[in-house]
C-alpha cells in the first residue's frame, strides 16, 4: 500500500491529471447545477443556474420571474447575495486546480488519492449544503403569503423532478457539475490504473 502511495504516476496519468486541472478551470465559466421549472403558464419553461460564485436565470429574466412566482407562496427572494457559500466556493475550486498542478510537480499516486478525497468532500459537503439551502427556501415561508396551501412545502428536488402545485421542478447537474464528476472518475481511473501497473511491475 505504502509503495502505491509513493508510486510515481505514469506519463499518461500525469497528462490526465494536467487535463483534469485545465478542464476544472472551465468550471469558473459555466454553471454547475441547473433547476428548471415548467408550468402551464410557462410552456417554454424557466431556468435557474447555480455557478461557482452566483445564481442566475437561464435567460436574463428567468430569476426575476421565478422570484415573482415564488412571492405568491411567500418564498424569500433568491439572490446570489443571500448565499454566503458562493463567496468561498471559487477558492475551493482554486484549491482543487492548485492540487492538480502540484501533482504535476510531485506526481505521486497519493496526490491523486488526495484529489479523490477532496473532490468527494467538496461533492458531499456541496450537495448537503445545497439540500439545506433548498430546504430553507422551501419551508421558511412568509406566513402572510397570498397563497397558503395547508401542509405544503416547496423544496425543490436535490436530483430529479418533483411536482409542486402546478409546477414541475427538475434539478440536474449542469456542465460544470459534469466536469467535477468526470474529474472524480478520471482520478479513480488513475488510481485503478496505477494499482494495476504496480501489480504488473511486481510480477
Amino acid at each position: 500500500m505504502k509503495t502505491l502511495l509513493f508510486q510515481t504516476l505514469s506519463k499518461k496519468n500525469r497528462l490526465l491529471i494536467l487535463g483534469v486541472g485545465l478542464v476544472l478551470v472551465l468550471v469558473y465559466l459555466i454553471p454547475i447545477w441547473s433547476i428548471s421549472i415548467s408550468a402551464p403558464q410557462y410552456p417554454e419553461g424557466l431556468g435557474m443556474q447555480i455557478w461557482i460564485n452566483k445564481i442566475t436565470g437561464a435567460t436574463p429574466y428567468d430569476l426575476k420571474n421565478i422570484n415573482l412566482l415564488n412571492h405568491y407562496i411567500g418564498m424569500q427572494e433568491i439572490v446570489s447575495e443571500s448565499i454566503p457559500e458562493l463567496l468561498f466556493m471559487p477558492y475551493v475550486l482554486g484549491y482543487l486546480i492548485f492540487g492538480a498542478f502540484i501533482t504535476e510537480i510531485y506526481p505521486k499516486v497519493g496526490m491523486a488519492i488526495l484529489g479523490i478525497i477532496n473532490l468527494l468532500l467538496v461533492g458531499l459537503v456541496g450537495l448537503s449544503d445545497f439540500w439545506r439551502w433548498e430546504y430553507n427556501y422551501g419551508h421558511n415561508l412568509n406566513p402572510e403569503a397570498p397563497i397558503i396551501v395547508e401542509g405544503m412545502a416547496y423544496q425543490p428536488p436535490l436530483l430529479g423532478c418533483k411536482e409542486m402545485l402546478n409546477i414541475t421542478a427538475c434539478s440536474y447537474p449542469s456542465y460544470g457539475g459534469l466536469i467535477l464528476g468526470l474529474s472524480l472518475v478520471a482520478l479513480v481511473y488513475i488510481l485503478w490504473d496505477e494499482n494495476r501497473r504496480k501489480k504488473s511491475n511486481v510480477v
Binding site: 436574463p60 429574466y61 426575476k64 420571474n65 412571492h71 397563497i147
Partner: protein
C-alpha cells in the same frame, strides 16, 4: 348626354357578359375541394404558416391574421385611436395622431407595403397609408407597433401610397384628389382649366433606422393618381402610377371621367428625379407637415416641418412618361421579373400589359410619342404594349404574381379572380369571389420572390355568406390555395373594417424576431420607475407626478391623495420582464382617457384631472395573475 353615356356603359357591360361565358363556367369550378377544411385546420398549439397584414380600410388600423387558419391575432392601431391600449389617448402616443389640421384620430387606410431588400420581403417594417388626411406610417415588425407617422404636404387623398422601391430606398405617395397647389380658394371649374395639380412624393426611408423624410415632390398634371407599384431588377429605377380622370372633369366624375378610351400609367424614374434634385433643378416650395416619431419607451415627439423641394417634369427630361392604358386604370402591378407592368382598367375589356424593355426602347423616340402633357411625353399605346389578356372578366383591378409564370387578377364587377399566363396572355382559370373583390394578395406576390402558396381575395360585400348581424355585414377575405396547377378556394373569413389590401409574409421570416419585452434597464422614459423603492409622488404646484410601478399583483404607491382641480400624471412602469405579461391601468369615470396597456418594461402615462371630491378606484385591466382582481386601489380627492 348623360343618358347616352350610361347607355354605352350598359351596352358595354352586356356585350362583355356575352363575350365572357367563362365567368359562368368559373362559378361551376367553385366546388370546394373536399379536404379544404383539413388544409386550413391548424391544430391547437400548432402555428400558422403565414402572417397576413390586412389594412383596415375605414377603420384606419392594420390587422394581423394567421394563414391558413384565418385566425385574427391582433389589431395594430395606426391612424385611429384604440381604447384597448390607450393608443392616441395616453401621453406617449397622442402626439402620433397630430397633423397640421390638429389632432386627427381617424383615417382611411388602404395599402399595406412591406419593407424589402433586393426586392424581397425583409420583415423589418410594414408601411400603411392614410388616404383622408395624407399620411404614411411605419409599423415595426419586432414590436408590431406603429413607430412613425409622416404627413404628406401639397396633396389631397394619399391613395397611391406607400409603395416601396426595391430596397425600400423610397416610398411613393401620390395625389388621389388633385387640388390647387398650393392650396387656395379658386373656382372648382378651374380644375378643367389646369388649375388643379397632383404631386408625386418621394419619401426617403433611412435604411438603418427606418426614419421617414420627404426627399422630393414632383408637380404633375391634375389627374387622379390611383395606385402605384415600383419596379424590380431591370426596372429598379422606375415606379408606375395609374391615373384616371385625365379628362379633368370636375363634376359627375362617374361619367365625366369615363369618357376617354384611355387614361394613363405614369412611368416615373425616381433615380433620375433624385439626380435632377441633386443638380439643383428642384425649387423650394411651401407646405407644412408634421413628422411624429414614437421611440421605444419615450413619449412620441411630433415635429412641425415646412417646405419641400419641388420639381417640374419639364425641368427634368427623361423622368416621366405617360403610357396610355385602357379605361380608368386602377391597379398597376409589376411582375416578379420587373418586365411586365399590368394595368387593371376598371372599365376595360382587356388586361393591358406593358413591357418595360419596350418602354425603354421607345421612350425617347419622337415617332413613338403621340403628344406631351405639361412636359411629360405620352407614348403610343402599341409602342409599349407586351400583350393584352382578352376578355378576362368584368372590371379587372389588381394583379399579383405567383413566381411560376402566372398572374392573378381580381375583377370587381364579375366578382372573381382570374388566373392567366404571362407571355401567352391566355386565361387559364376563373375563381369566383364572394363578393365584389377589390385587391388580392399572394404571399410575397408583389415582391420579386413570391412564396406563391396562398392567395387571398379581399371582398367588399358578404351578403348571404355569414349570419346576418344587422344592416352592416362584415367584409371578408377569401383564401385560395394556388400551390398546384389549379387554384382552389379553401375558406373565407370575416375581417375587421374593409380589408383593402394586404401583405403576407412567411411566418419563419418574422416569428423568431418578435420582441418579447422592453428591457427595463434600457427604459429611457423620463418618468420611468425601474424599482419599487423608487416609486414616489412629486407635487409641483397643482400638478402631481405619480411615479408608479405595476407588478403582479400590485401598484405602488397604492393610495393617492389629491385635491379637486389638480392634474395628476400617473406614470406607470410595468416592472415585469416576462413575455406576455402587460398590466393595465384605468381610473373609474376618467374622461378623455381610456386605458393604459403597459408592456413589460414599458412606461405609459395616464393624465387625470381630479374631479369633484370623492374616492375613485383605479385598477389593472389586463388579467395578469391569480390576484389580478386584487390589483386595485383608490385615489381620494379632497376639496
Amino acid at each position: 348626354m348623360l343618358k347616352k353615356s350610361n347607355l354605352i356603359l350598359v351596352t358595354l357591360g352586356i356585350t362583355l357578359m356575352a363575350f365572357v361565358p367563362n365567368c359562368k363556367k368559373g362559378a361551376a369550378t367553385a366546388t370546394l375541394a373536399s379536404d379544404a377544411a383539413s388544409r386550413v385546420y391548424v391544430a391547437p398549439g400548432e402555428k400558422d404558416e403565414v402572417y397576413a397584414f390586412l389594412s383596415g380600410g375605414f377603420s384606419g388600423q392594420m390587422s394581423v391574421y394567421g394563414i391558413p387558419s384565418a385566425r385574427l391575432f391582433k389589431i395594430i392601431p395606426v391612424f385611429s385611436v384604440f381604447p384597448e391600449n390607450g393608443y392616441g389617448f395616453d401621453e406617449e402616443t397622442k402626439e402620433m395622431l397630430k397633423t397640421t389640421h390638429g389632432y386627427v384620430p381617424w383615417d382611411d387606410s388602404h395599402h399595406v407595403e412591406s419593407s424589402m431588400t433586393d426586392g424581397k420581403q425583409d420583415g423589418r417594417w410594414m408601411f400603411l397609408n392614410a388616404n383622408n388626411t395624407p399620411r404614411l406610417a411605419r409599423i415595426d415588425l419586432k414590436s408590431f407597433e406603429t413607430k412613425e407617422i409622416l404627413e404628406i404636404p401639397n396633396t389631397a387623398g394619399n391613395h397611391a401610397s406607400p409603395f416601396a422601391t426595391e430596397n425600400t430606398e423610397y416610398l411613393m405617395a401620390a395625389t388621389r384628389f388633385s387640388v390647387p397647389v398650393p392650396q387656395a380658394s379658386v373656382p372648382i371649374d378651374s380644375f378643367s382649366k389646369g388649375g388643379f395639380k397632383g404631386t408625386v412624393t418621394m419619401v426617403k426611408v433611412d435604411k438603418n433606422t427606418g426614419r421617414l423624410s420627404i426627399e422630393l415632390q414632383v408637380l404633375v398634371p391634375g389627374f387622379n393618381y390611383d395606385l402605384s407599384h415600383c419596379g424590380k431588377k431591370k426596372s429598379h429605377d422606375w415606379c408606375f402610377f395609374s391615373s384616371y380622370n385625365s379628362e379633368q372633369a370636375h363634376k359627375m366624375l362617374e361619367v365625366g371621367a369615363s369618357k376617354k378610351d384611355k387614361d394613363f400609367i405614369l412611368a416615373f424614374n425616381w433615380v433620375r428625379a433624385k439626380e435632377c434634385k441633386d443638380q439643383g433643378k428642384a425649387y423650394n416650395f411651401g407646405g407644412e407637415y408634421v413628422n411624429n416619431f414614437h421611440d421605444e419607451n419615450k413619449p412620441a415627439v411630433s415635429t412641425k416641418l415646412s417646405g419641400v423641394k419641388m420639381l417640374n417634369p419639364k425641368d427634368c427630361p427623361g423622368m416621366m412618361y405617360y403610357m396610355p392604358t385602357p379605361k380608368s386604370p386602377h391597379g398597376t402591378d409589376v411582375d416578379s421579373t420587373g418586365e411586365y407592368i399590368v394595368g387593371g382598367g376598371k372599365l376595360a375589356s382587356v388586361i393591358p400589359v406593358h413591357s418595360f424593355s419596350k418602354m425603354m426602347e421607345v421612350k425617347d423616340k419622337k415617332e413613338h410619342h403621340s403628344t406631351e402633357i405639361e412636359g411629360i411625353p405620352v407614348l403610343k399605346y402599341e409602342s409599349t404594349l407586351a400583350g393584352e389578356v382578352q376578355k378576362p372578366c368584368l372590371g379587372p383591378l389588381h394583379t399579383e404574381f405567383d413566381g411560376k409564370g402566372y398572374a392573378y387578377t381580381s375583377c370587381f364587377v364579375s366578382s372573381e379572380v382570374v388566373k392567366w399566363k404571362l407571355g401567352t396572355w391566355e386565361v387559364v382559370q376563373h375563381l369566383p369571389a364572394y363578393y365584389s373583390v377589390g385587391h388580392l394578395s399572394i404571399v410575397g406576390g408583389s415582391s420579386s420572390e413570391p412564396y406563391g402558396k396562398y392567395l387571398i381575395a379581399m371582398n367588399k360585400i358578404t351578403k348571404d355568406r355569414y349570419l346576418p348581424v344587422g344592416m352592416e355585414l362584415p367584409q371578408s377575405a377569401q383564401l385560395y390555395d394556388i400551390s398546384s396547377g389549379k387554384a382552389e378556394l379553401l375558406s373565407d373569413f370575416p375581417t375587421v373594417g374593409e380589408p383593402h389590401y394586404s401583405q403576407m409574409i412567411p411566418a419563419k421570416l418574422l416569428m423568431d424576431k418578435t420582441a418579447k419585452l422592453y428591457p427595463l434597464e434600457e427604459n429611457k422614459h423620463p418618468y420611468a420607475t425601474k424599482n419599487e423603492n423608487e416609486a414616489k409622488i412629486v407635487r409641483l404646484g397643482s400638478t402631481v407626478h405619480i411615479y408608479m410601478t405595476a407588478i403582479r399583483s400590485h401598484f405602488k404607491p397604492d393610495i393617492i391623495e389629491a385635491r379637486t382641480g389638480e392634474t395628476l400624471y400617473f406614470h406607470v412602469t410595468n416592472l415585469e420582464q416576462d413575455y406576455d405579461i402587460p398590466h393595465g391601468f384605468a381610473i373609474g369615470g376618467a374622461p378623455n382617457m381610456t386605458n393604459l396597456l403597459i408592456m413589460p418594461g414599458e412606461t405609459r402615462t395616464f393624465k387625470w384631472v381630479a374631479p369633484k371630491p370623492g374616492v375613485y378606484p383605479f385598477y389593472c385591466t389586463d388579467f395578469c395573475s391569480a390576484l389580478h382582481q386584487e390589483m386595485q386601489q383608490y385615489i381620494r380627492v379632497s376639496p
